[in-house]
Amino acid sequence: MTKAVAEIAARVVAILEAVEPLQRVNVGVIRSCEPASLGSHIVDVDVATGYAELFRRSGYRRAACRKSAE
């Protein structure tokens, strides 16, 4: 059992190390996206980064969510 736990622990640490590039990927769910002014939208996003509960963030964003809003 001890060996199995040590192996899975090593595997998890190795995976976390391997997926470090995902720290540069902002994962979230766009809840709404409305045109605000020329070339920009106001988006309501559930941010899905970190281990705490998901939290919602609103803000302006330039024409980046057209596809998501369709």
């Binding site: 199995a4 622990a9 998890v12 995976i15 976390l16 190390e17 980064t49 970190g50 281990y51 705490a52």
Partner: protein
């Protein structure tokens, strides 16, 4: 055990890693460790699929996933197989930063997900209270 800044990782990886970090019982450690490995494959797979569909590339990768879902479902081996295919497609888009990051993560994680990985250094030891320490 984790020793990493989990708040920077996507939630789908950070949350199970945090649960694993909090586990004390060896059985719990094994169960949560297995869940983390599977969720890592699923998270990478979903990100890769999302990239493929948003860019209109990798139709064969998406088809591979759809065929598996319509059949027996997606087991760990199917996710890793799909990730390997998606990695080839993403490698053809070197100027796409999202593709680059997903591919780097997938390529690094695949040997560990497939179980062929063996750490070069000594395994972490398991301290008292059943908690692994590195």
């Amino acid at each position: 055990m984790i020793g990493r800044r989990l708040e920077r990782y996507p939630y789908l990886l950070a949350y199970p890693a945090r649960l694993l970090d909090l586990a004390r019982d060896p059985n719990e450690l094994l169960e949560r460790g297995g869940q983390f490995v599977e969720l890592s494959a699923v998270t990478l797979g979903v990100l890769a699929l999302g990239w493929c569909t948003s860019r209109g590339l990798g139709a064969s990768v998406v088809a591979e996933w759809e065929t598996a879902v319509d059949g027996k479902g997606m087991a760990l081996g199917k996710w890793t197989s799909m990730l390997r295919s998606a990695s080839w497609v993403m490698a053809e888009q070197p100027t796409d930063p999202l593709a680059r990051n997903i591919r780097l993560a997938a390529d690094g994680a695949l040997p560990r997900l497939e179980g062929s990985y063996r750490p070069a250094t000594a395994m972490p030891t398991v301290g008292n209270r059943g908690r692994a320490v590195t």
